[in-house]
Amino acid sequence: MKDDRTLTRGKVTGIVSNLVMVEVDGPVAQNEICYIQLGGTQLMSEVIKYANGKAYIQVFESTRGLKVGAEVIFTQAMLEVTLGPGILSKNYDGLQHDLDKMEGVFLKRGDYTEPLDENKLWEFIPLAKDGDIVEAGSWLGQVDENGQPHKIMVPFKFTGQYRVKTVVPQGNYKIIDPIAILINNAGEEIPVSMVQKWPVKVPIKTYREKPRPFKLLETGVRTIDTLNPIVEGGTGFIPGPFGSGKTVLQHAISKQAEADIVVVAACGERANEVVEIFTEFPELEDPRTGRKLMERTTIIANTSNMPVAAREASVYTAMTIAEYYRNMGLRVLLLADSTSRWAQALREMSNRMEELPGPDAFPMDLPAIIAGFYARAGFVYLKNGSTGSITFIGTVSPAGGNLKEPVTESTKKVGRCFYALSQQRADSKRYPAIDPIDSYSKYLEYPELQEYIVTRTDEHWIAKVSELKNILLRGKEAYEQMNILGDDGVPLDYHIRYWKSEIVDFVILQQDAFDKIDASTPIVRQKELVDKVLDICRSEFSFESFEEVNPYFKRLINAFKQMNYSEFHSEKYKKYESEISAIVAERKVANGN
């Protein structure tokens, strides 16, 4: 907070739930943060509208007991996050208060805890030298944060160029200790510490360029990696009715994806789901580094029972933290569950302000807000030539499971990967319930990705993927015919076609998120599996009658599933591999290739 005397003050004149009207005695800015004085507690709030001499503020807390006349102090700052070493493995609320530092079982209004630990010592290694010319985002040094090279950067708020006067030598420092002195154009000396602040609603753009992303981001989820891959710096979204598996899928991705940093925004969903992360992540290992998953993860928890206005802030808090790490040249994965709850928070406020509503009473500018948010993700070249990325995947919870609703439609315009969860697949326990036919990855059409992906798989990979999709489509058509005409009303070939698509479904698409081995399939293993499955789908089989088809393919599927449950290339794996060959040999027509 700046000098108290120059700050604008105001008095509460009206209250509707968490929307408060304030008469002010000076200038206020849109999105400025202010504090309502309620007894001994301060209620953090944000200006969301100004009209007729009144500021309309949304309060990030319950307004119970608040009275007309209460004093409000404006801060001249927007909602900001504190950036510095120590963010990883923290559990924050939507406004970046450290949940672990709060006292008591229940959340208390106005209990605003510090996001970072001021007394912790970090071993600082200088990267810049005296005389270097630097600018916002330039790396001055680094500390080791849970095994990650956490770069200490010139604060993003600095404009123009600076000359490094001094950088402290290698040694242990606290985050508030000055680690460098910079000189600006006017010749003034400016000390820099390891911590800085940044307003969450403003994108951090200290990179050189943002090209189209092209590098496959392995998630270990076969139906994503094989069929509709996402890329480092890509965007995707997962719409689906309740219970269709959005959260389980996101958790799987957060555990397995090839990322350096994972930021999870639990936005207006269940507290128990966050507890699951708190409980499991400190135990689970990141197979790539051998460290605990929690060490690379930060959780922003604004669960559904926490104040609604902070829900909107939570996704921005998460994004800003992600941008901070991206600027260190790291691969960040950002997950938000659920972006619909964020949109609903906007709707609640817009309703209270009696704004003219758009479709389904959502604010008119919802599409622009969503687009603006997704645009912050991406793959970047930093000014020093390194690369960094934010891959963003959000879930969407459409009302009544109907995808023709404003949040899904607005997201569809900006999310490049669409993972539609189908109620029907979820009902028949075909998990993950991503509909293979409706879903898409636009990245698959990027020549950049096509070129890259063959280096991780093989040169015919793209053709194989479309072959798989084709098999699924033809299988579906055959199934529809069988339903209309009856099992014996269609040619035998329809049955075979249908069951070939079932192999693709059961063996590649379906994956048990709760099995240690099946949960995550590395891309090399996916490649081998695709080849095996395609080999079968390309073969011809002979049957006497349609009644033989179903049991035969069921046996085959069963053997494949057992193989999926076995360690890659283990004895057990090989055993099922040969069992599969034996079953295939029973009916394969000799030269049917």
Partner: protein, 441 residues
């Protein structure tokens, strides 16, 4: 509520609607309780001196010069061990003829538990009903509703579940209960000798609908007292949440809020979440489990009330009448307990997940066969067996009148597999088949 000396009495109402009234007043706190012509009301909007109150008892017959007294307090409940065994109305006043309960005054609708102070639920709740214990296992700290059409016996099933669950306290929040259902609960609890561990807050169909808005918060404040202060395992029953949501929409419509889907307020999700998220497992052993009822109209789960509920709760239990066996069953397709994977096969026998999944899959095969039959196609021999299996599975496991322990449920499962199918058709892991497949004599 007694009037205190300094309290100012206002007598000029400027606006009255069916559920709210507006009065010119000063120094009023948001969400404060006031008494309007003897009826309890709560501040829902303040604009300068103009204070809008939601009148829980309805505004019928309230004159523009009605006396309005502000209490200076949010709604409260007095909590102590004396709550046990008692029946209260929506305001926390006894309706059982007994004395008022003395105790510490607690705000209702208070703050939420810090997520990092929660523990992951892991304690199974056994109900004896296989449709629940086998297929949709419940866990302490869970929140789950019954989705049922109004003609289904959901209150009976809920009472049964409550009595069989080994909880320290059962807290009943009845909203728009018929007098008959209220008396039913009272009798069942009485006959089971369980009255001393029951606390009830009830608003019947005879009471004004807006009153219902107080019930969940009253019930959950009592629950928090027992779970936090006394480390007890508390089971909260909320019936019928659809009627609660209806009351929400009455108030929001009167306040000229723009309705979203199905004329429900735009804040429905947050409103319901605030209630359901009170379900919690504490590290100290105390827990709050919420079992609710959401009645559907014509089985439509896309309606805003069940839809928002489904997005909040940890699964749902569907009741359906199975015409084949003429009994109500817990529908295995549409029901789901999301926390079951925390306990099945861990707190129960190792074969639980596989037996559960396999039986449901075979039941699905039977459903397909039935569709074939309805479409006039011939059934295969496998289809015939699947149908027979489904019937017996429904009768012996899905029906809500089943009362056996989980081990027995699993054994019945294996018995039915062996009776109608071969191990290959069942497709369970070889190790388990070797161990549990019934040996011929």
């Amino acid at each position: 509520m007694e009037t205190r000396a300094f309290q100012k009495i206002y007598t000029k109402l400027t606006n009255i609607t069916k559920a709210t009234c507006t009065v010119e007043a000063e120094n009023v706190g948001y969400e404060e309780i006031a008494i309007v012509a003897g009826r309890m009301a709560q501040v829902v909007k303040i604009n300068g001196k103009s204070v809008t109150l939601q009148v829980f008892g309805g505004t019928e017959n309230i004159p523009t010069n009605a006396e309005v007294i502000f209490t200076g307090k949010p709604p409260v409940l007095k909590v102590s061990d004396d709550l046990a065994g008692r029946f209260f109305n929506a305001y926390g006043k006894p309706i059982d003829g007994g004395p008022e309960v003395d105790g510490e005054e607690r705000e209702i609708g208070g703050p939420s538990v810090n997520p990092v102070r929660r523990k992951q639920p892991s304690e199974l709740i056994a109900t004896g009903i296989a449709g629940i214990d086998l297929n949709n296992t419940l866990v302490t700290g869970q929140k789950i509703p019954f989705f049922a059409d109004p003609d289904q016996p959901f209150n009976q099933v809920m009472a049964m579940v409550a009595l069989r669950a080994k909880s320290d306290k059962i807290i009943l929040g009845g909203m728009g209960l018929t007098m008959d259902d209220y008396l039913y609960f009272k009798n069942v609890f009485d006959n089971a000798g369980a009255l001393d561990r029951i606390v009830s807050f009830v608003s019947t169909t005879e009471d004004p609908p807006v009153e219902r808005l107080l019930i969940p918060d009253m019930a959950l404040t009592a629950a928090e007292y027992f779970a936090v202060d006394k480390n007890e395992k508390v089971l909260v029953l909320l019936t019928d949440m659809t009627l609660y949501a209806d009351a929400l929409s009455i108030v929001s419509n009167r306040m000229d809020q723009i309705p979203s889907k199905d004329s429900m307020p735009g804040s429905l999700y947050s409103d319901l979440a605030k209630i359901y998220e009170k379900a919690v497992q504490f590290p100290t052993g105390g827990s709050i489990t919420i079992i609710a009822v959401t009645t559907l109209s014509g089985g439509d789960i896309t309606h805003a009330i069940p839809d928002n509920t489904g997005y909040i709760t940890e699964g749902q239990l569907f009741l359906r009448r199975d015409s084949e066996i003429g009994k109500v069953i817990v529908d295995p397709f549409r029901s789901l307990s999301r926390l079951k994977q925390l306990v099945i096969g861990k707190k129960t026998r190792e074969d639980h997940p596989q037996v559960m999944n396999t039986a449901v899959r075979l039941y699905a095969d039977a459903a397909n066969a039935r569709t074939k039959l309805e479409n006039g196609f011939d059934l295969s021999e496998y289809d015939e067996r699947a149908l027979k299996f489904a019937r017996e599975y429904s009768e012996r496991l899905l029906a809500i009148d089943v009362n056996i322990d989980t081990e027995k449920m699993l054994n019945v499962g294996w018995e039915l597999f062996a009776k109608y199918f071969t191990p290959a058709e069942v497709g369970i892991k070889a190790e388990l088949v070797n161990k549990y497949w019934p040996k011929e004599n």
